[in-house]
Symmetry: C2
Subunit: 398 residues, 2 copies
Amino acid sequence: MNHLLSEGIKATPPSFVRGILQAASDPGVISFAGGLPNPISFPQEELLKSMERIVKTYGSNVFQYSITAGLPELRQYIADRYNRIYGMSLTIDNILITTGSQQALDLIGKVLLNKGDGIIVEKPTYLAAIQAFSMQQPVFYPVALTEDGLDLEQLEKALQNPVKFIYTIPDFQNPTGLTYSAENRKHISEILKGRDIVLIEDDPYGELRFDGERLPYIGAGKLPGSILLGTFSKTVTPGMRMGFIISENTELLKYISIAKEASDLHTNIFSQYLIWDYLEHNDLDVHIAKIKTLYQRQAQAMMNAMDKYFPPTVQYTKPHGGMFLWVTLPDGVSAMSLFPRALEKKVAFVPGDPFYIGIENANTMRLNYTNADCETIEEGIRRLGGELQSFLNRTQHP
Amino acid sequence: MNHLLSEGIKATPPSFVRGILQAASDPGVISFAGGLPNPISFPQEELLKSMERIVKTYGSNVFQYSITAGLPELRQYIADRYNRIYGMSLTIDNILITTGSQQALDLIGKVLLNKGDGIIVEKPTYLAAIQAFSMQQPVFYPVALTEDGLDLEQLEKALQNPVKFIYTIPDFQNPTGLTYSAENRKHISEILKGRDIVLIEDDPYGELRFDGERLPYIGAGKLPGSILLGTFSKTVTPGMRMGFIISENTELLKYISIAKEASDLHTNIFSQYLIWDYLEHNDLDVHIAKIKTLYQRQAQAMMNAMDKYFPPTVQYTKPHGGMFLWVTLPDGVSAMSLFPRALEKKVAFVPGDPFYIGIENANTMRLNYTNADCETIEEGIRRLGGELQSFLNRTQHP
């Protein structure tokens, strides 16, 4: 078998998180490992009404083959929304519907990367982006992510290598929950200006800000080569795999569209009609406000519990939105080694390792707070804190 | 821009057919160019009932993230159906749900192909398979497709090259409408036995046989390395992009699953529940019988009209099922050159070129008969026949 496999698939790590989710699926386990939106974010009743309406109104069109770029009406809604909120001047030609944001990552890798090409990523970064890009066997140049955003010195140094693109998640980053400051965004934009490098801003969580003001994008609407990724996974439904690529570079979008056609012809057209109809007949901002209120409460419950139950040498990020926070253990303490012990105590998280390129036994872990109620969060953090305390005692004073 | 692009995307032809469909979208044009199932094949009322049922019964599960391999219940239905009809012994571990069959082609290319690897394809073959595989820059070894199936001499010769897989469409092939004979299948199976080569049987149309008896698969259930591709696009709805991979090689499926996860995490779970619920509550065979009756009538209408209106030097295949037939013009006559003239007469088809590797001005064309009523088919063939006659007069007696 092995000799039949491509180098690309051999270079692609199987998702670590899937394995962990399996381990954490025991109903007795309190899992902070997943990345599931709270079901409150699925407007089930309204979606059912939209289903009935689109079948009645558009008949066979919602079941037939369709065009690769995506439903024009949905692309127009997206263009209008970004134009209104961010003062952009997008048309439907700047929007391509993708089968979730994950497909956008796959398509970008296909269109831009040859084996050995350089790409800059955050350190740590989204593990499924590592997976998608790895298929093309690039050289990763990780740049440290700080409380303010990208480490600019490291960025300038990484840019001395031949690099095709920079992959960033500026708002409520996965896995850290960190947000780039306005200052940091401006600096990055200045550093990239005039360079022939594609800036990717992956923005699945931007709508979920529950603290502070929206910040401007780094490149979207400003740097001509930049790509902005969006999704309805965190605001309407992830199960329908509905994402989108926004770019002013229509030449680049044309190639991405060819890659998409070769990949799955087009995204589920029924779901495109459905999401569009839902958006036309409901106020998305009212719906999102409910999600944000809940997530803020859950994030606060987790932070309160960590202050109460975690040893003082353990640090964590304070997210202004999104779904995750990031815990840093004392130097040299492996979150991976902690994992099986925590699981015995019926609590799960994702150890930091899979979010880095080639780092093992990192002293970090990702916690998700959106898919458990506040009492469960407190109990889970209590269990984790207890195990963490005894683990630190053992590893630090052997 | 160009210097940022990957070699893979530069090697991938944009779909010719999409351009043609655009040209043929003028409402006055009778188009035999598309590959659209007839809307009769979409059980709209029943699907709407299933939507209401699954939202009521499974609630947030139909909207949430899900597992990469696909809904276990749907995979079980598929396993049961193939076990029943073909005497296979599949379990759900032999089935992976894909975002349409097109994604299966993309995933297979990703998992098996390095740049320069050899693959055997039919000559002519499905153009979007050429597109999907081209992304990996393989070397294509085309083997002529005859009335009986693959040319066995050419197959043996092609197999002298280092080859990773063979891509076939044994039933009602796209584009030719040809079906491999039982004899030809047996010979291919014998030739491949013991060789370390993956046989891909792409079977989107097999359920649509309106003439003669079902024939056994070449490799599925027999050759351990073989892959069988199926889809609900031609029997329930293409718009939801719901295909599947069947293989007894669970090791290979594991790698395909990693590639799928990196590509789009999982296929639209709402649509998986929907198709499964529809299949559980309706008799698929009764539904398919209606489609077959219609397609047989349409195919016959097209053949009758061709006998009436086409010059006698023009030949065509007589399909036993599926959606297409294949027209061969006299030697040296370019169907591509005929296309703009036919379009002026308000009739469209797909010239043969994009179905070959590196052949231009082929004397062949693909006609689709499923998406127009019999009167429209007759009128379209009348127009095409007239233009064909005068085109042949001009090109053959200049």
